[in-house]
């Protein structure tokens, strides 16, 4: 099979394989629908441009996630001055008390909303790790995308699981 090396072909392949993941990523970095559309356009444009320099130095998936998250992180940092609430690390999120409402029920209908609310508290690098974990990537691949060492990735994934377990029990709110 002839290797596809043109920028346009690579972009088409990337969108076909990872377009849905990019949309979920966009939703995780921007709640406002209009701004999210702008962010997705920036991501797609950056991806398309980046393929001019892509020489299979990593897998297509890894490259897509690297470019997309870096665009999104830049977007978050630009918007930061308008945000009232500071972004936090996983450590800080883990230490925050969980509001317990015995009347509330965490069901699948509002679980996604709560998950988004939790993710939007995180600073960009921590957000990237949790998003890649939710996308089903293993620790080694998360390390390849983020540059974080495997042991640190494993620690963060352990913390993520603990945070998710604590906040998605009965009555838990993020």
């Amino acid at each position: 099979m002839q290797a596809k090396t043109t920028r346009d072909a690579l972009y088409a392949d990337a969108v076909a394989a990872h377009g849905a993941a990019l949309e979920r990523l966009g939703r995780s970095y921007e709640l406002d629908p209009d701004k999210r559309r702008d962010l997705l356009q920036e991501i797609h444009l950056a991806l398309w441009r980046s393929f001019a320099g892509f020489a299979s130095q990593c897998s297509l998936r890894t490259w897509v996630y690297r470019v997309a998250h870096n665009v999104a992180a830049t977007h978050v940092l630009r918007q930061r001055r308008h945000n009232v609430r500071a972004l936090v690390s996983l450590d800080a999120l883990e230490a925050m008390p969980v509001d317990v409402d015995p009347e509330a029920r965490v069901d699948r209908r509002n679980a996604l909303d709560q998950l988004h609310a939790l993710i939007h508290r995180l600073d960009p690098l921590e957000r990237e790790v949790i998003l890649l974990y939710l996308e089903g990537l293993d620790a080694a691949t998360i390390g390849e995308v983020t540059g974080i060492s495997p042991s640190n990735v494993a620690t963060k994934i352990h913390r993520i699981k603990k945070i998710l377990a604590g906040r998605f029990r009965q009555g838990g709110h993020v």
């Binding site: 972009y11 969108v15 377009g19 849905a20 990019l22 949309e23 979920r24 966009g26 939703r27 559309r37 997705l40 356009q41 797609h44 444009l45 950056a46 398309w48 441009r49 980046s50 001019a52 320099g53 892509f54 130095q57 490259w63 690297r66 470019v67 998250h69 870096n70 665009v71 992180a73 830049t74 940092l77 965490v106 069901d107 699948r108 679980a111 996604l112 998950l115 960009p124 690098l125 990237e128 974990y133 939710l134 996308e135 089903g136 390849e144 983020t146 540059g147 974080i148 060492s149 495997p150 042991s151 640190n152 993520i160 699981k161 998710l164 377990a165 998605f168 029990r169 009965q170 009555g171």
Partner: protein
């Protein structure tokens, strides 16, 4: 009823979100590149016009100053402000170019964030910081000294202004050193993440 949602179920839930099939055609891509390029040029022209208008405004203010030393001090102050504005704008444009290049080179996140933090740190230290500070020194001092020579009865007030000027300089140095320390701390955290 057990309302716990295991982490694996959350992953499944996450990946099964409805998406809107966002797409951009290649023509839309190229059109956006052209629009961005035109917008960058327009911002460049606008920034240059604002800069020129500021300098002209300051030069007009010079006409109100008669004596040689205050006039020379005013000219040096305007030049200092101009250099500072130019350096700040150049840094902003360089940051945008560097960010775009870093994004499109497929850098891992840690290296991407590290490069950004290093650029921001370097803006607050070394020759770039001291050049901004020192270029603002001679003009106001000369202006104030010349004013003091012209109006001897105002020297106590002028002495207070000189002290205030140096105090503000000290505050600027302290604030920039603090900014550098914050960036260094965050860079250290990034390095520890790499293991």
């Amino acid at each position: 009823m057990n309302n716990d949602i295991p982490a694996d179920d959350l992953r499944t839930l996450w990946q099964s979100q409805n998406t809107e099939a966002f797409r951009m055609s290649l023509d839309e891509m190229r059109s956006r590149v052209e629009r961005l390029s035109w917008r960058a040029q327009r911002l460049n022209v606008f920034g240059t016009l604002i800069f020129a208008a500021s300098i002209i405004g300051c030069l007009w203010w010079l006409t109100l100053v008669r004596a040689f030393m205050p006039r020379l001090g005013a000219i040096l102050t305007i030049a200092g402000v101009g250099v500072t504005l130019w350096q700040t704008r150049a840094n902003y444009l360089a940051e945008r170019r560097a960010t775009r290049a870093a994004v499109e080179s497929g850098l891992v996140a840690v290296d991407f964030h590290r490069a950004q933090l290093e650029r921001q740190r370097d803006f607050h230290r070394g020759w770039r910081f001291w050049s901004r500070l020192l270029v603002m020194l001679p003009g106001p001092l000369m202006f104030i000294a010349g004013f003091g020579l012209e109006y001897p009865h105002l020297r106590p007030i002028i002495a207070l202004e000189v002290l205030t000027f140096f105090a503000l300089g000290g505050v600027a140095i302290a604030m920039n050193r603090r900014a550098v320390a914050i960036y260094e701390h965050r860079l250290g955290e990034l390095e520890r993440m790499k293991g």
